[in-house]
């Protein structure tokens, strides 16, 4: 069966004064109908840019999407659609929820108006039908006394309630795909859990496919069928949720898992944050982008060869030159200063 969404060779760069920011570098993935895909990665790894490219919401310029890139939604390449055709997809077939519910709703329009405008636009409903549907939607996402709240403005809702409103807006036209870009990041932990529960319930009731973006592996754990990890604009590991947690095969994923608190962790399994910072997206390193921070690196090899995403087990792919697992012993590494010098020598004109 053809997947609902297939992204092929997606490359996105931004023209800036500081140079070309290569935000997304040849990303390939798919999403089946009704499936939930988690996209995980540190801030700046290209998750939002990927989702905005799918929705064609990136301003061009400064964004440049490579002409070879394809975003196939039900077989149709969205990147080649005319603007008015694309507008029929946005909000109707693919809907989106954003990170900050405080700023994502228009402060001067009632939430009733903001929910009903999609219904009127895509479902051709009249005022009355749209209002009735809006009340249903607010009830569905768990907003108490929904009838009375249609005339309220966003500032009259709490953060969690606003995110529920955003979700109600997003699902209003029965989209096939819901892209949730860090939907819980701006919320308190307890509210986070409630919003995730709501998304799970809606997925069951509506059968919507969800692309759940987060920088927190803990958030996607109980929710996603498949997970893919992004680093420096690339997908560096992808697998079904269980094997990814049980047997991560890319040092970056291993690092991420080590850096989140786990209920089953023993005394010695303490949190180990990943050292260092993501690479500069203007001048990406020639080899493995994770090399400067990788505990398992072998500089001579890792700095010269780009690891491609390869199958390490059935349905499990990782972008590492070596077969590394959680059990692989961490080798002795030269001190960071030495690494820095080595890099300098390598990039200097003389070397």
């Amino acid at each position: 069966m053809e997947p609902l969404l297939k992204v092929n060779n997606l490359k996105v760069a931004f023209k800036t004064d500081g140079g070309l920011v290569k935000a997304v570098n040849d990303v390939n993935f798919y999403l089946n109908e009704g499936e939930t895909l988690g996209i995980v990665g540190e801030s700046g790894s290209g998750k939002s840019v990927t989702s905005m490219a799918i929705m064609r919401l990136l301003p061009t310029p400064p964004a440049v999407i490579d002409s070879q890139s394809e975003v196939l939604f039900r077989g149709q390449n969205l990147l080649k659609l005319k603007d008015d055709q694309m507008r029929k997809i946005r909000g109707k077939e693919i809907a989106m929820i954003f990170q900050d519910p405080m700023t994502s709703l228009n402060p001067v329009l009632t939430i009733g108006k903001q929910i009903t405008e999609s219904l009127k636009l895509h479902m051709k409903m009249d005022d009355k039908a749209a209002n009735r549907r809006a009340i249903e939607l607010l009830k569905l996402v768990g907003i108490p006394s929904a009838e009375k709240r249609l005339g309220d403005y966003p500032h009259q809702f709490s953060g969690g309630m606003r995110q529920r409103v955003m979700i109600a807006m997003a699902i209003s036209c029965d989209p096939k795909l819901l892209i949730a870009d860090e939907p819980t990041t701006a919320l308190d932990v307890t509210i986070q859990a409630q919003i995730l529960d709501l998304l799970k319930r809606l997925r069951q009731e509506l059968g919507t496919a969800i692309m759940l973006i987060t920088h927190d592996l803990g958030v996607v754990a109980g929710m996603c069928d498949r997970i893919q990890v992004m680093y420096a604009g690339k997908i560096v590991e992808t697998a079904k949720a269980k094997p990814l947690y049980a047997n991560p095969r890319m040092p970056y994923t291993i690092g991420l898992l080590n850096s989140i608190p786990r209920l089953d962790s023993e005394g010695e399994n303490r949190l180990i944050p990943i050292q260092g910072l993501p690479p500069d997206m203007v001048t990406l390193p020639p080899g493995c982008p994770f090399e400067p921070r990788c505990a398992y690196r072998q500089p001579a090899v890792c700095q010269s060869k780009v690891p491609e995403l390869r199958e390490v087990e059935e349905g499990h792919r990782a972008a590492c030159l070596f077969d590394i697992t959680k059990e692989t012993p961490i080798p002795e590494q030269p001190a960071p200063e030495v690494v820095a010098t080595a890099t300098d020598v390598r990039t200097s004109p003389a070397g």
Partner: protein
Amino acid sequence: MTKFIIRRILISIPVLIGISFLVFMIMQLAPGGPMAAFGQNPRMTAEQRAAIAHNWGLDKPVLEQYVTWFFSMFRGDWGTSFVTRQPVTQLILDRLPATLLLMLTAYIIQQLIALPLGILSALKRYSLTDKVLTVLTYIGFSMPTFWLGLILVYTFAANLKWFPSGQITNPRDPAFNSATYWPWFAANPLTAIGSLAAHLVLPIITLIVVNVAADSRYMRSSMLETINQDYIRTARAKGLKEGTIVRRHALRPALLPVVTNIALTLPALLGGAVVTESIFQWPGMGLLFISSITAADYPVMIGIVFLLSAFILVFNIIADVTYAIIDPRIRY
């Protein structure tokens, strides 16, 4: 809302009293004081001056003078001009229509040009249109009003003779707002309006060039900021057309910071009238104010300054109320 407006007006009353006190005191402190008009008159003896001062209560304590003055102002007795001996209110009322005509037309035209230009510039950011507009606004912004007025008169009145070089009516027609003017206006409305329009063109351009430049820049930056907000992205993600997004989602938030500015440019325009009216000999309050200063005609001066202050206050209230109407987050 009504309550909010009433409260806002009540708050302004002490402000107005404060302003009146300041105006009064500044006039007292001015060189020569209220008697300056008589200071230079060599034929007047010290006794005569003292008699006048006594007559007007100027020998009383300043505070008492202020209270007396305030209450008579309040009753509508704004005093009589030292120069013409006419009541100040009469002088001002005679001149007010010409000034209001100039200001209101200039004001409306200014907003009609500045706001759309600013919005256009923001929506077409970095386009050729935006760049051209940017250059033009910088030129407009740095144009001295006085110099611009003279250039306009020189080019379009003296040389090209497209427009009259000054005044509000043609010399052959009855004087504006005089006893014969309105009957004449009623009898020849088209001629009269045409003549007014022709006389208005150059003064209006002179008045608004700087303001259009400033206001359109202001509108542009406000619209740019709005268009980059998260909720505009949300609106785009809904599949709305760009025009709908601007009209329904961006316009109101973008106008919010501009509203105060818009409401306060009218009194600012009134202030700018002084220069423009004197360039074009426009028979309004600006000219009256200048002649009152030259003649040290204190009652007229005080009257005009006080009226202007009241104007600014009223427009502040209008700004606040409009703001509260547009922005649901303001609680009143």
